[in-house]
Subunit: 291 residues, 2 copies
């Protein structure tokens, strides 16, 4: 199949690699020297997003944020200029659910289908083709995309209509971020009150406080191993999608907003490129705890 | 063994019942008509906490809050007046870790040992002798208490010195409360953005957002089954222990404080005696969602 892949970053590069390895004709844009191996493996570099959209039947995007997707789709020499009726755009970036619906509507006017399909699982998940993929769109678009998504991920769900994939991803990031904050506050309290956080974590693992975060990130907090993993800087961006979405939808997400503020402090402290479990360092600093 | 049990509420009554059923001599105080079956089963009612402390070698407390424990221990005709050297007080109430250390020190002056042993697992756990019990005290006190604790619970941990059990319980309530708030915010966002919360929950269960709270309380939120379970009113009290403890220890717990505020609103809305998963109703109300 003729596939376009735009956004060859830490995530996109191995994802595109899986599509090439499966024998698809993959058209690439903005191939930096660090991605030259994708061309050697058989990918075709083209000089614009427009050219990629012209050459491919399905165009996949994996970009940093909402404005990047906007620019690649609708900017000069963008995807929209190269699209023709019947093509499918799959946006695997993590961006605004509200804007996603607007993008899909504009592409529908060109006779093209749209699937939002953001992922979780990080760099390791991308490399191992083990990403969790949360999709929004029609069943037809989902079924058309599925064989490609299965080359990149494992737990692939159609959550609902266009935007529902992004909404699900935001919900994921809210829960993960706020659970990290919860475990951070609990452990900071335990430490200040003179209890051993490691023993507290053990005692809590069997009950209602149990979570993947307490298990994995709680252990990181205790062992002080804060190599990413998923960087605080990126999680702050995702909570920004939640906060911006909340504003657009007129709803209050108080703990999400506060946790984003705590991530601001974390970045101000120089922890932006540490794993998000390092949020506990900010809580500890607020408690006057050091080391 | 001669055991005193003071605090025959929803939790204490079945807990005392297990001790009587195991053949211990159990001395009770303030036996209301609803607990008369404990006397029929063999419990001995006495007319003061002081008399209970005189009759028993080990005195167990299961009371609502810090001031209740203070009054029963040190008030007129209280436990302290009936104690003599070598006796052990086990406080299974959920109260202030800081005050717990003060209580233990005062009893140590009388030559008595102290174990804080708060529980989680609720009324059902108490009835089924399946409570999780988090202990703080010396190893000697813990080993002396253990045979009795094993009649009431299953997952029994010595977390650290006196106060560490209460600290662990507070940490548990922080994590549980904040995770409920996290799932509530995520589901409210999903609903407002037009996604089906049930499908979002399903998609998230396999990843880093997975928790016992998402599993059990997330399902309650979707099915709107808010019978307790654990009442918001009681959880607010426990977050009060966290907030008061944070003040005593000069540390900031921003999401804990905000979640306690949300529980204030939940109680103002008339949801105080609903299960704590009903916190989502407050988030939905803040979003203008109804029903």
């Amino acid at each position: 199949m003729n596939i376009g892949f735009i956004g060859l970053g830490v995530m996109g590069s191995p994802m595109a690699g899986h599509l090439i390895a499966a024998g698809h004709s993959v058209f690439l844009n903005r191939v930096k020297p660090v991605c030259q191996h994708l061309v050697e493996q058989g990918g075709t570099p083209l000089d614009s997003a427009r050219a990629v959209a012209q050459a491919a039947d399905i165009i996949i995007l994996m970009l940093p944020d909402t404005p990047d997707v906007d620019a690649v789709l609708f900017g000069p020499n963008g995807v929209a200029e190269g699209l023709s009726k019947g093509k499918l755009v799959i946006d695997m970036s993590s961006i605004s659910p509200v804007q996603t619906q607007a993008f899909a509507a504009r592409l529908a006017d060109l006779g093209c289908d749209y699937l939002d399909a953001p992922v979780s699982g990080g760099e390791l998940g991308a490399k191992n083709a083990a990403l969790t993929i949360m999709c929004g769109g029609t069943t037809a678009a989902f079924e058309r995309a599925r064989p490609l998504l299965e080359l990149m991920g494992k737990n692939i769900t159609l959550v609902g209509d266009v935007g529902a994939g992004q909404t699900c991803k935001v919900a994921n990031q809210i829960i993960v971020g706020l659970t990290i904050a919860a475990v951070s506050e609990a452990m900071t309290f335990a430490k200040a009150a003179g209890a051993d956080p490691a023993k507290v974590r053990e005692a809590l693992m069997g009950g209602f406080a149990a979570s993947r975060i307490l298990e994995v990130h709680g252990e990181r907090m205790i062992n002080r191993t804060f190599d990413p993993g998923f960087r605080i800087r990126l999680h702050r961006k995702d909570l920004g999608l939640a906060v911006d979405g909340a504003k657009a939808l007129n709803l209050a997400l108080p703990n999400t907003a506060t946790t984003q503020q705590l991530m601001n402090t974390a970045i101000a402290r120089g922890d932006g490129d540490k794993d998000h479990s390092a949020l506990i360092l900010t809580l500890e600093a607020l408690a006057g705890q050091t080391g």
